[in-house]
């Protein structure tokens, strides 16, 4: 069982992100369960969404307290919430930012994780470039696929194409593709 | 003198003709021609509400309901379904094990007749029975108070329902309590004739017909058991239209008003002739016709025979509120233009 927790703000497509991720896993022939932090949050308010991916049938309905991966769509949230709560020692961290962990004062949190498990992605910039709106979720999913290798990128792009209409879908896939490639290049560079 | 004996279609035709039956006064009204003739004069009227019901002697609502539904039955060739709100009409017509209705009839709740009727109309659409029409009916309580929200929703969606409100100005079924249709100064069980302001308060009033007009529905009308021909005309016209329609009928209640059982129609007549109960028609948000006052009477002629207003006539000097009630009537007369000349009945 692999559990993902996505943090963001209302309107950034946090819930959609979790949903697309679950669909991607579904296409990979896995079982997946995506659900929001059920609330009546309005635009801008902090939002959490969850996604479980497993080869067995998923029965549990509890929220994800100990995620294997943390996706942070909005770095400003570090100031308001303890986003790292329950993050597993072997877990992953994907932060949408064009700054460094140090700049965000979360360097040591990143260091607690295995090397290369904590990355930053300028997902908003990428989204602006391809979609023309600050919707980082697709790019972050691309990054997730590249980082965790838990889902195939093809499945991610297929899930995105099912979630959006043609034009928007293409743009989002492009954003996801760029982030995916970016993460892969960094790895090869690091290696 | 244009009137001839109409071609022999119905047996009534060969009845004696009387000049003064022209116009809209007696039920027979035989000089207007066969089709224009009142449903109630017909040997083969449907009696949608038949004998054996348990209404009080001289019940205006029982009368109004038969008038209205028989007219609707004729207009729809019998393809009619009635939905009924809780109230006197429902209770006195269908106590187990007997019903007085001779058309398909459904009672659900006090406040939902309009919505239930909407459902029936929707069913008729999906079941491909466009010929079957729906009437919802209730008292003033079930219409102007507790059923008001459903009524307004039905109006706003313009559902194909004719809603008929039998207005006897109070909750008579539960023992004569005040409703939002109870007139000022009237005594009810919850507005007793005691204290400095005996009877019902002089509020701002609530004209559901005008609220209906504000919904701009295709057809709104007020009617009275004192003018059968007008009432039948309005019901017939309403059934010729699709969409939301509203007719409110003044139906005096001998019990609740404290009047003699034989005065039911007389009181309804005085309500019209005094300007107390304006009779008008509106289509798509505009008032299109009013029933003129034929022989104007002071409001006291209407109030005096009713014990619910008796306290107004106790004192030596006339109660000042009589003047306020008269002012209400005069305001109606001005607002609706209820007076110009006398009707010659021809």
């Amino acid at each position: 069982m692999f559990e993902v927790r996505i943090h963001g703000r209302g309107g950034q497509g946090v819930v959609t992100g979790a949903e697309i991720l679950s669909v991607a896993a579904f296409h990979d022939g896995r079982n997946a369960q995506a659900f929001p932090s059920f609330g009546s949050e309005r635009m801008g308010a902090p939002v959490v969404a969850f996604c479980r991916i497993c080869d067995k049938i998923i029965r549990s309905r509890e929220p994800i307290a100990e995620p294997d991966c943390l996706i942070v769509q909005d770095a400003t949230l570090f100031k308001v919430l303890d986003l790292f709560s329950g993050l597993r020692p072997q877990g992953y961290l994907i932060v949408n930012t064009n700054r460094s962990f140090a700049d965000l004062h979360i360097a040591e949190a990143g260091l607690r994780l295995p090397l290369g498990h904590a990355i930053t992605v300028p997902a908003t910039e990428i989204a602006q470039r391809h979609i023309g709106r600050p919707l980082p979720n697709a790019a972050l999913l691309g990054a997730f696929a590249a980082l965790t290798r838990l889902v195939n990128f093809e499945s991610v792009s297929r899930a995105i194409s099912e979630a959006f209409s043609d034009r928007v879908a293409t743009a989002n896939i492009a954003a996801a593709q760029e982030a995916y490639t970016l993460v892969r290049l960094r790895e090869t560079a690091a290696a | 003198m244009s009137e001839q004996v109409p071609a022999a279609q119905s047996p009534e035709v060969i009845q004696k003709l009387k000049f003064y039956q022209k116009g809209t006064f007696t039920v027979g009204n035989r000089l207007t021609g066969d089709d224009g003739r009142s449903v109630q004069a017909s040997l083969n009227r449907s009696n949608a509400l038949t004998c054996g019901h348990r209404a009080c002697q001289g019940c205006g609502e029982a009368l109004g309901a038969r008038y209205a539904l028989d007219a609707a039955m004729r207009a729809t060739d019998g393809n009619l379904i009635a939905v009924n709100a809780t109230g006197c009409l429902e209770v006195f017509t269908t106590p187990y094990p007997e019903t007085s209705w001779q058309l398909p009839w459904l009672h659900s709740l006090f406040g939902n007749a309009a919505a239930v009727a909407t459902g029936v109309a929707a069913a008729m659409r999906v079941k491909k029975h466009p010929e079957v029409r729906v009437v919802a009916q209730g008292g003033d309580g079930g219409t102007t108070d507790i059923g008001f929200q459903c009524l307004s929703g039905m109006f706003e969606r313009n559902d194909d329902v004719l809603y008929i409100c039998y207005d006897n100005e109070g909750y008579m079924n539960t023992g004569v309590q005040r409703s939002s249709a109870t007139p000022p100064a009237a005594r009810t069980a919850t507005t007793p004739a005691i204290g400095p302001e005996p009877g019902n308060v002089f509020g701002t009033g609530k004209s559901v017909p005008r609220i209906a007009v504000a919904h701009r529905i295709p057809y709104v009308a007020t009617a009275t058991v004192a003018d059968l021909h007008d009432l039948e005309h309005k019901v017939t016209h309403a059934m010729s239209i699709h969409g939301a329609r509203y007719i409110q009928i003044d139906v005096p209640c001998p019990l609740g008003w404290g009047a003699s059982s034989h005065d039911t129609i007389r009181l309804a007549r005085l309500a019209v002739e005094s300007g107390f109960y304006p009779i008008f028609e509106a289509e798509h948000g505009k008032v299109t016709a009013v029933r003129k006052i034929r022989r104007k009477v002071p409001v006291t002629e209407y109030l005096r025979p009713q014990r619910r207003f008796a306290h107004l006539f106790k004192g030596e000097v006339p109660d000042r509120r009589i003047a306020r009630l008269q002012a209400m009537c005069d305001a109606n007369i001005d607002e609706y233009g209820l007076i110009d000349g006398r009707d010659d009945g021809a």
């Binding site: 979790a18 059920f38 309905r61 | 017509t93 009839w105 709740l109 406040g111 999906v126 929200q149």
Partner: protein, 426 residues
């Protein structure tokens, strides 16, 4: 065909497959996605010959359904929480008139304090209204129960309420197998009413019934529910034959055969409980689960048979009758009544107003039930310190003000209230 799909959309598509003829929609969280999707399906013509009516209240929603059903149309609506309370009068009326309406209830707490999250208080408030009440464990079951419900409702001429946990199921995206139209049509024949408003054969429906016949009318309603106890398993069997899936029925057991401790629960929490049970089984504890699907009619006899052999029975439920305790626990108690040396009954209330139910909390609960059983009702993950402080505060000052707001003040933002649940679990 399997889909990765949101529960509400899956439910809506299943309802569409049942070819409802009149759908009444009024928005209330968390059932909105269901009627939104149905509206879409009607507008885009996928669901043909169906009247989709946007009403002005829940009271009207069920009232319109009542009219449509009495006039011979297959009628559907959905609501939740306050909405169910607002239509309460019509809820009783629909069953009293014997109208086979199907209604989805996106289970949600009842205010005040206003709360949009999941529990079963709303369903419990109408448990005596004469409707059949079925609880879905998963979105797959939600889909399947709706299809079975129309058949059941119309066979008995009695309304059915399908209870689906708000958000937890309605908003969860997971794998659901949506049946194909042909199979559904084979399983569910067109609506053939036992009585209908028809100008060609006029009848009066909804007469006033006095003392001379009212008891009999009520008895017959009860008799219908007793017939449902037989019909529900039969339909589940036919359903399996048609769709090859076990779904619905009155109740089902999980690892219960040799269990010394049996948990009884309804709805989505059963999934979490099953995981917990597996973990405890690995630790050698003989524990199992009984999932109640049909809460009304309540499968008293069948439940008794399943529980009779256990030492301990722990009832976990998402609602409780203030001043008494858990309703489900009471009903289970009824089932165990007069059982010679029957199991000990332990009542626990959990997940009120969306409070998460953690596996760890359940572990603790089940062990405690056996080791150190409590008196009365146990409130899972109750924040004791907060309660103590508030009770003291109320005791001190006359004008203590509203408790809910005071609690929030103590806990700071609501997000931390959720966190509080997490703390206790970690």
């Amino acid at each position: 065909m399997p889909k990765q799909i949101e529960g509400s959309r899956a439910t809506a598509e299943a309802i569409a497959l049942c070819r409802p003829e009149v759908i009444c929609a009024y928005p209330i969280t968390p059932q909105t996605h269901i009627v939104e999707r149905l509206g879409e399906l009607v507008k885009d013509g996928y669901l043909a010959n169906c009247e989709f009516i946007n009403v002005e209240s829940e009271f009207a929603a069920l009232s319109v359904a009542i009219g449509a059903s009495a006039a011979g149309a297959r009628a559907y609506t959905a609501t939740a929480s306050q909405g169910l309370l607002f239509m309460a009068e019509a809820v009783y009326n629909a069953s009293g008139l014997g109208l086979p309406i199907v209604m989805t209830l996106g289970n949600r707490a009842i205010g005040a304090p206003i709360n949009i999250w999941n529990d079963h208080s709303d369903a419990m408030s109408m448990r005596d209204a004469g409707w059949i009440q079925l609880f879905a464990e998963t979105n797959q079951e939600a889909v399947d129960l709706h299809i079975q419900s129309f058949k059941l409702a119309e066979e008995l001429s009695m309304p059915v309420m399908v209870c689906v946990d708000g958000f937890i199921l309605t908003h969860a995206v997971e794998r659901v197998d949506i049946p194909d139209q042909a199979a559904v049509d084979e399983f569910l024949p067109p609506y053939d009413p036992i009585q209908v408003l028809d100008p060609k054969d006029p009848i009066s429906i909804g007469a006033m019934v006095g003392p001379e016949a009212f008891t009999e009318v009520r008895y017959l309603a009860h008799h219908k529910q007793m017939r449902a106890l037989e019909l529900i398993p039969i339909n589940a069997g036919v359903f399996k034959d048609t769709f090859g899936r076990d779904s619905g029925g009155l109740l089902r057991g999980y690892r219960h055969e040799d269990a010394e401790t049996l948990v009884v629960a309804m709805g989505s929490v059963c999934g979490t409980i099953k995981d917990t049970i597996d973990e405890m089984r690995e630790a050698g504890i003989r524990i199992g689960l009984v999932v109640i699907v049909s809460y009304r009619p309540f499968p008293t006899a069948a439940l008794r048979d399943m529980l009779a052999a256990a030492k301990d029975v722990v009832v976990v439920e998402k609602s409780f009758a203030v001043g008494l305790g858990g309703q489900l626990a009471n009903d289970v108690d009824t089932a165990l009544r007069n059982l010679p040396d029957g199991p000990n009954l332990h009542s626990a209330v959990a997940g009120l107003g969306g409070r998460p139910i953690w596996r760890r909390s359940l572990h603790r609960l089940f062990r405690q039930a056996v080791a150190e059983p409590w008196e009365g009702t146990h409130f899972l993950d109750l924040n004791e310190p907060v309660i103590q402080r508030e009770i003291q505060r109320i005791g001190k000052t006359r004008r203590s003000g509203p408790t809910a707001e005071s609690l929030l003040r103590q806990l700071g933002r609501r997000g931390e209230l959720v966190a509080a649940g997490e703390e206790t679990s970690t």
